[in-house]
């Protein structure tokens, strides 16, 4: 378990540790298994709709990327913090066997109803740096005070 992050440890503009992942086909098939999303777009490179979209490779599930961003958000919260709100939009496609980077930055710190809240911008970006899954999160952290 990583060390607990406290509210006082965090500064606006601070970046979350990045996570890099390169999903392979088995990972996507297992995600299909776990999520129940069995759309062949995600595992059959000969599925006709892919060709219609001009693609020759399978698309990574949006919710897979959401889950990867979730790893970064929940890592910040640790055991003593709580994720209050967390969402992303699916704005761009990522393809099988291509590296995806999860990143995030602290945009605000505030106290509200006795809670110490941290606002975050979070996202995944592809190899070209395009943000394919941008979102926001609010995490309540424990305070040293």
């Amino acid at each position: 378990m990583a060390q607990q992050t406290y509210f006082e440890d965090v500064a606006v503009g601070q970046q979350l540790p990045t996570i890099k992942i390169t999903p392979d086909k088995q990972q996507l098939v297992k995600f299909a298994a776990g999520s129940g999303d069995f759309n062949p777009l995600h595992f059959d490179e000969k599925f006709p709709m892919l060709k219609a979209m001009g693609l020759t490779e399978n698309i990574v599930h949006g919710r897979f990327k959401y889950a990867q961003v979730g790893r970064a958000v929940f890592a910040l919260a640790g055991y003593k913090g709580r994720v209050k709100r967390f969402g992303v939009s699916y704005r761009g496609m990522d393809l099988l066997n291509k590296e995806i980077t999860v990143a995030g930055v602290v945009t605000a710190k505030r106290e509200e109803d006795g809670e110490h809240l941290v606002d975050l911008d979070v996202w995944t970006e592809d190899a070209e740096g395009k943000k394919t899954t941008p979102g926001t999160a609010v995490v309540a952290l424990p305070s040293r005070g």
Binding site: K25, Q26, V29, K30, A32, A33, G34, F38, P40, F43, D44, E45, K46, F47
Partner: protein
Amino acid sequence: MTHQVFFEDVHAGDEIPQLRKNCSTQQLVQWAAASGDFYQIHYDRDFAQATGLKGLIVHGALKNAFLGQLLHDWIGEGGQIRRFGCSYRGMDEPGQDILCRGVVTKTYTLDGRHYVDLDIWTEKPDGKRTSPGTATVTLPGRA
């Protein structure tokens, strides 16, 4: 409720109603999900070809399950499968028909139960039997 088959209607040499299957790649992934068999030869063409196969192949256990469906569909609510099994002797591929068939080999009554032995198998469009096996079921009698 399906039509119930009775022991007295069944004789050695009878063929039971056939069951035709044709697996999509999606069905193979769903089977991987349900069975926990995530070996890539069932959904990753590059992987399958790298191991020397022509392409994706259907899980053997899925064909065994199809044979279970063949039997269940035939015996109806009044029958019971006592045992069944098959060997994996040949490969099937997604997008190609898999015909499930069964032939009665023996009928007998033991301790008041009506038994039927069968040869069961899956076959490819060219007639090659890819999953031959045997089964024993019990059927209700009319008496």
